[in-house]
Symmetry: C2
Subunit: 419 residues, 2 copies
C-alpha cells in the first residue's frame, strides 16, 4: 500500500441526505486508510505524491451487497420467464456446470474481470454449492485487488437432484470451504444458505453452528416474493414470519445481509432495525422477476442499514450505477402507487447506499472520512457530451444515470491502484 | 438507393407476440424497399450484392416516437426535481437558449450525431417554439439520413414570459415553419402543441386548421400525470376528458401521436382505439417524473397502436433498447401492483412496439415484410462475453438488455447505408 493524495473534485456522503462536495480538493491516503478530504493540502502531507486528476470527479467505490457470480454467464436471458421457470431453465442448469472446476475457471474469469473494471470496489457474493469452484472464484478475486466476501452455497431440498446436497456433506464441505479460504487476505468466506426453501431446519442449525464457531458473517434472501413468503410459512410453521425463521436459526444480526426485503411485515422491519441486519436492495432484479418494490425510503428513514445489490442474474448487469438509477426510479413508483408517506429516493440517498450503506458491512469503508479504508473511483465524464454547463453534483448525476465502466479513469481499493 | 442483400441471422416481428427468426437468412432490399426474407436466396436476386454479416443479428431499425431534441443537453440532470421544478429549473431555461440559432446549431449537432449512431432509424420529435432553430435541427436530420418528423412547438400560456408566444405569431410562425420545411425529403413537419395547459383553445383551433389545410400529422402529450389531468379539467370545463379535449380540437386521428397515456379513462382508451391514434409509451420518463405506469399490455391487447419513446429529457437516453427494457420491467410492476388481468410485456411485445408499432406511423416501416421501407441494424454481440451458448432470440435479448451503440455494426435507412 502506498501513501498518496488524489487532487480533483471530490464527492462523498456527509449523511444519507447530503453530499460533501470539495471542488479542487485533496483526498489523502496513508497506509490504505483515508486521512480525510481537504480544501488545501495540510503541511503534514506535503511530502506525499499528489496525483492530479484535473477536472475529474473522485468518489468512494461502490459495494455490491448481493450478486450471484455463477449466474453471470446468462445475465439478461430468460427475462420473460416466471421465477420457477427461470430457475429451472437457466439458473440451476448453469450453476450445475460449476461442478467442473475448469468451466468455473473460464466463467469466473469473465465475471471477475468485469467486476474489476467496473464501479465495484467491494462485493458480497454467492458462488455455487461446489467448494472447489468457489475457491477458484476466490482465488481470482484475491488477485483482482477487490475486497469481497464469498459464499459456498448450501442447499439440501427443493432443487433438482443434480444441484442438491446431503445435509452432512453440505456441512462438512462448508467447514472445508472455511479452512481453504483462510489463505486469502482480501477475500473472506461468508455463510450462505441459499434461502429457507432450499435448506432444512437441520442444515440451518448446522450452518449457524459453523457461523458462530468461526465468527463468520452470513447472507441469504428474505421476503422477495409473495409466493416464496407463503412457502416459507408452510415450511416453518413454527415461525411468526420469514425473518423470524432466520432469527430462530441465529442468523439475524449485525453481520447478516438479507437480500431483497420487498414484502416486509412490521415484525420483520423491527427485527432488521433492532438487530442491525443489512438489507441488500436489488431494484432491477425485483422488477425483472416481478417481485415488487422494496420500501427502501422507509428503511433508510427508520435507520435500517441498506446497501445496493446488482443481484446478477436476477439483475442483468454488474454496473451498480444502473441499480442506483433504478432504485430512484422504483422508489417513485412506490410513492405513486403504494405509499405516499415516504418520499422517493434522491441521488444522495442511493449514493449513500452504494458507498457507505454497503461499505459498512466491511467495517469502515465507502467514505473518505478519516479512518475509512481508502477506496476511490476517478470519473471522467468528457464523453457524455453536452452544450450545458453543470455543477459538480450534476456531473455526478449524469455519470450515475448515463455512465459505464468507460467513464472510470482509475480505481483504488484500500489504497492500492487497481487500474 | 442501392439494391442489396443482407445475409445473417434475421429477426423481425411476425405479430405483436411472435418473432420471425431466419438464421443464416437473406433480407433483400430493392430501391429501398424490402422484398422479404428468405432461407435461400431466390434466383431473381442472384445478381444483387450480398453483404455477408456472418454470425451477426439483423433486425429492423427502431422508431423513437417521442423525444424533445432541445432537452438533450441536460439529459439525466435534475432527476430529483418534481415536474414543475424540473420544467422551471431545467427545461424552460434550456429551451429558451434556442432563440439563438448558433446555440441551436451546436446543441442539435450533438443530438443528431448521437441519434444517427444509435439504434434509432426513425423519430418524431419536438423542437422548441423557435422556427429558425427548428429548421436548423431539420437540416441536420436531413443530412443524417434518418427519417423523421419534427415539430416547431406551440405554447401561448402557462410558461415563463421568455418562452411564450402570442397566439397570432404562433400560428403565423407555424405556417412559415411548414413552408420552410418543404425543402426536406426525409424530414417532415408535424404540428406540435406542447400540451393543452400550454395552448389556449384559440391556438388549438388555429393549429387544427393548419393541420387540416396541409394534411399534416400532429403530436402532443396526453394524461401523463394526475395533477396535469386535473389542470386540463379546469382549463377545458367543456370536455369530458383530456383526450376528449384534443378530439374536440380535431386532433385525435390516425395521424396523431399522443405521448405517455399513463392515467387513461375508459373513454380515452376507446377514443385511441376507435380513431387509430398512436400512443408513444415512455416508460423511463414516466418513472423519472413519477408519473406512473402506462397500461401498455392492455393497449396492445385491445389493438391500440403503441410505439416506444425515449422522451429525452424526461427520459435520460436516446438508447431505445433501454426504453424497451424498462417497458418490460414496468409492466411487471403494473401486473404486481395495479392489475393482474394483463400479463407483463414480453421481449416480443416491446420489439414489436419499437419496430412495427412506431414504424407504422411512417407508413410501411419497422419490418422486413415485403413492401416495407428497408431499415436495418446489423448487431454484433461479441463484446458481451459469456461461456454460455445462446440461441438467436436469446442473443437478441442480451443486446436489448445490455447493449449500446457500440453493438451496432452497421445501419440502413430506406436502403441507404448510414454507417
Amino acid at each position: 500500500m502506498s501513501d498518496f493524495v488524489l487532487h480533483g473534485n471530490i464527492i462523498y456522503s456527509k449523511n444519507k441526505d447530503e453530499f460533501n462536495i470539495v471542488e479542487n480538493g485533496y483526498a489523502v491516503c496513508k497506509n490504505g486508510i483515508s486521512e480525510g478530504v481537504f480544501d488545501t493540502l495540510p503541511e503534514e502531507y506535503k511530502n506525499l505524491e499528489v496525483i492530479d486528476c484535473q477536472d475529474k470527479i473522485i468518489i468512494p467505490g461502490f459495494t455490491d451487497l448481493h450478486v450471484h457470480a455463477p449466474q453471470y454467464g446468462f445475465r439478461s436471458v430468460g427475462m420473460d420467464c416466471e421465477l420457477l421457470e427461470w430457475l429451472e431453465r437457466h439458473a440451476f442448469p448453469e450453476e450445475a456446470k460449476f461442478a467442473d472446476v475448469e468451466y468455473a475457471d473460464r466463467a469466473y474469469s469473465l465475471f471477475v474481470n468485469d467486476m474489476k473494471t467496473g464501479f465495484t470496489t467491494r462485493a458480497c457474493m454467492f458462488g455455487t454449492l461446489h467448494t472447489d469452484s468457489t475457491i477458484v472464484l476466490m482465488d481470482k478475486l484475491e488477485k483482482s485487488g477487490l475486497k469481497t466476501m464469498v459464499g459456498k452455497v448450501n442447499m439440501n431440498r427443493n432443487s433438482p437432484d443434480y444441484l442438491r446436497e446431503d445435509t452432512d456433506k453440505s456441512l462438512a464441505d462448508t467447514e472445508r470451504f472455511v479452512q481453504l479460504s483462510k489463505r486469502f487476505e482480501n477475500t473472506k468466506p461468508i455463510i450462505t444458505p441459499r434461502f429457507i426453501p432450499s435448506c432444512t431446519d437441520e442444515l440451518m442449525y448446522g450452518l449457524s453452528e459453523i457461523m458462530h464457531k468461526y465468527d463468520l458473517p452470513v447472507q441469504s434472501h428474505l421476503s422477495e416474493n409473495p409466493s416464496e413468503i407463503e412457502w416459507v410459512k408452510e415450511l416453518c410453521p413454527w415461525s411468526t414470519s420469514y425473518g423470524n425463521a432466520y432469527d430462530r436459526f441465529g442468523m439475524m444480526n449485525d453481520k447478516t445481509i438479507m437480500a431483497h426485503c420487498v414484502h416486509m411485515t412490521e415484525e420483520e422491519m423491527a427485527l432488521m432495525k433492532n438487530n442491525g441486519v443489512f438489507a441488500a436492495h436489488c431494484p432491477e432484479s425485483n422488477m425483472n422477476i416481478a417481485s415488487g418494490i422494496s420500501p427502501v425510503s422507509r428503511m433508510l428513514e427508520e435507520g435500517i442499514k441498506v446497501g445496493i445489490g446488482s443481484d446478477v442474474a436476477g439483475g442483468t448487469t454488474l454496473a451498480l450505477n444502473r441499480a442506483m438509477t433504478l432504485a430512484v426510479q422504483c422508489s417513485k413508483m412506490y410513492w405513486r402507487y403504494i405509499d405516499k408517506k415516504y418520499k422517493p429516493l434522491t441521488l444522495e440517498n442511493v449514493f449513500y447506499m452504494a458507498t457507505v450503506g454497503g461499505g459498512e458491512f466491511f467495517g469502515k469503508a465507502g467514505s473518505f472520512e478519516k479512518g475509512c479504508e481508502f477506496d476511490a473511483l476517478v470519473l471522467d465524464d468528457t464523453n457524455i457530451k453536452t452544450t450545458v454547463d453543470f455543477d459538480t453534483k450534476e456531473r455526478l448525476e449524469r455519470i450515475i444515470y448515463l455512465g459505464n465502466k468507460h467513464n472510470i479513469a482509475s480505481k483504488y481499493v484500500c489504497g492500492r491502484k487497481i487500474f
